[in-house]
């Protein structure tokens, strides 16, 4: 029983990271139609940056926030490189993000080497639960709610949605669609960076951690058709929990595979039901 509770807690913590990362993918995809495969790199770069900033003597909090801001800036750069040239198709931009992800490996290994790194999170426990997991859940809830409010309740969010739905009409009303796309990359970068910063105290990071993160974040986002943030959160949590259970009761070596098969099953069931609806 105690083990089950612990697996659930771990799973939700990791699932929050997937959800944040996946939400970053969703924001970028919704506005630019680009699937950003560099999304995992935002998390890794931010996490590694925190280790350096803490070692340099920056206090907790400041180090994490700075790293998230850096990730947002890297998001902007990614957006500029991937979509900056007018007329770039979302498909070729996708390839560019893939290339940037590989380029990030070189930068990470150069600055931080190829060994796993970590840094301490929030110490202590509350009611038997490690405080850091509560922090992850709380920050994720607040940030995703704020992101949802940005889209639903502000004119800037409406303009981002408008850009996603009809770039021509968006331009016709005076929205700078290129700037909106770059803003989406900034938000996506920050969300990715936040995922890395939150998860690293409970799960070490290496330069290639981005693969697991982006695969799981992408799976979570796919559950929401790459456009639905609420389903992305649900998908992230589901993946995290299933992986924790598989790792706890079975083998850690199949964690990702089992989760992906599950996600595939969800997609097949859903495809069946949408076909029934449209038929």
């Amino acid at each position: 029983m105690a083990a089950l509770v612990q697996y659930l807690i771990t799973g939700i913590g990791v699932g929050c990271a997937y959800a944040l990362l996946g939400s970053g993918l969703v924001v970028i995809y919704r506005v630019t139609r680009v699937v950003n495969f560099a999304q995992g790199s935002f998390a890794v770069l931010a996490a590694l940056t925190v280790t350096t900033l803490l070692a340099a003597g920056l206090p907790h909090g400041l180090a994490e926030v700075s790293a998230v801001l850096l990730a947002a800036a890297i998001g902007l750069l990614t957006g500029l490189v991937a979509t900056g040239r007018p007329g770039t198709t979302p498909q070729s931009a996708l390839i560019v993000t893939l290339g940037l992800g590989v380029f990030a490996y070189a930068v990470e290994i150069l600055f931080w080497g190829d060994q796993p790194r970590s840094f301490p999170g929030l110490p202590g426990t509350v009611a038997g639960v490690q405080s850091h997991y509560l922090l992850i859940a709380a920050v994720t809830a607040v940030v995703l709610a704020a992101t949802a409010l940005l889209f639903a309740r502000t004119d800037l969010g409406r303009a981002l949605t408008a850009t996603a739905e009809d770039p021509y009409a968006a331009r016709a009303v005076g929205i700078d669609v290129r700037r909106m796309g770059l803003l989406a990359f900034v938000v996506g970068g920050a969300l990715g960076g936040l995922a890395g910063v939150l998860i690293t105290p409970v799960q070490q990071v290496t330069f290639d951690s981005d693969v697991a993160l982006v695969v799981n974040g992408f799976s979570a986002a796919i559950l929401g058709n790459l456009t639905r943030p609420g389903l992305t959160l649900a998908g992230g949590l589901l993946l995290g929990v299933v992986q924790a259970l598989v790792g706890g009761y079975g083998s850690t070596s199949y964690q990702t595979e089992v989760a992906l098969v599950l996600m595939l099953a969800v997609l097949i069931v859903r495809a069946g039901s949408t076909r029934a609806e449209t038929a």
Binding site: D155, R158, A159, T161, A162, E165, D166, Y168, A169, A170, R171, A172, V173, G174, I175
Partner: protein, 219 residues
């Protein structure tokens, strides 16, 4: 003059869509632009609104210009009210209440997603969205296409009212040439990327060529 193009040429890759077109709209004037499918009307509109870069020629716009695009192009998942708000994206004040006063038909649609409205309702929203910019020139690309006569009459009445009450200038692109010539004092006829006739609507309507081609009358 509130807006105009002179000697405008626009190309899509190798194809020339507009070839040396000149056209202008004076303050408070309603001007019609008619012509067959593929004549280049939408191309002219998009260039005038800065959405398309011309190969050569000049575009001059004084004052604020708003577009009701061909096919309406609303933001489908956003509510009618949100669509209206975005019409004022360039402005600081985005209060929508005056639009419901101008177009009372929109009041009951306020919170509906724009994508789930009928064609006529959508065109009304598209008009409201454009009016939110408080433009001095309204450009409407294909006002009546696919709409029931009742709605078209409504839209035409709204345009006439804004023109007489606020002095709103209008450039109307319209398949229904009879309607366009009736509504607007002056008109241009565009064919294959060139202006082939222009002048007061009454004069154009009485020319045998225009009557035969656009009003369905024997030459």
């Amino acid at each position: 003059m509130i807006a105009g193009v002179s000697d405008l040429t626009v190309r899509y890759a190798a194809a020339t869509a507009l070839d040396g077109v000149s056209l202008h709209v004076a303050d408070g004037e309603m001007v019609a632009l008619i012509g067959p499918n593929g004549a280049g009307k939408s191309t002219l509109v998009n260039a005038l609104c800065g959405l398309l870069r011309p190969a050569s020629g000049t575009i001059a716009v004084r004052g604020d210009l708003a577009l009701v695009p061909e096919g309406r192009h609303l933001f489908p998942s956003l509510s009618v009210d949100d669509n209206l708000r975005l019409g004022a994206w360039r402005r600081r004040r985005r209060d929508t209440s005056h639009i419901y006063g101008l177009l009372p038909g929109l009041v009951k649609l306020r919170d509906r997603p724009a994508g789930r409205l009928s064609g006529g309702e959508q065109q009304m929203v598209a008009l409201g969205r454009a009016l939110m910019a408080r433009p001095s020139l309204l450009v409407i690309d294909e006002m009546s296409l696919g709409l029931a006569p009742k709605i078209v009459d409504d839209l035409a009445a709204h345009l006439r009212e804004r023109n007489t009450v606020d002095g709103l200038a209008v450039l109307l692109i319209e398949q229904n040439a009879r309607l366009a010539l009736e509504l607007c004092a002056r008109a241009y006829v565009l064919e294959a990327g060139r202006v082939v006739a222009e002048g007061p609507s009454a004069q154009l309507a009485s020319s045998p060529e225009v009557a035969a081609a656009y009003l369905g009358l024997e030459a």
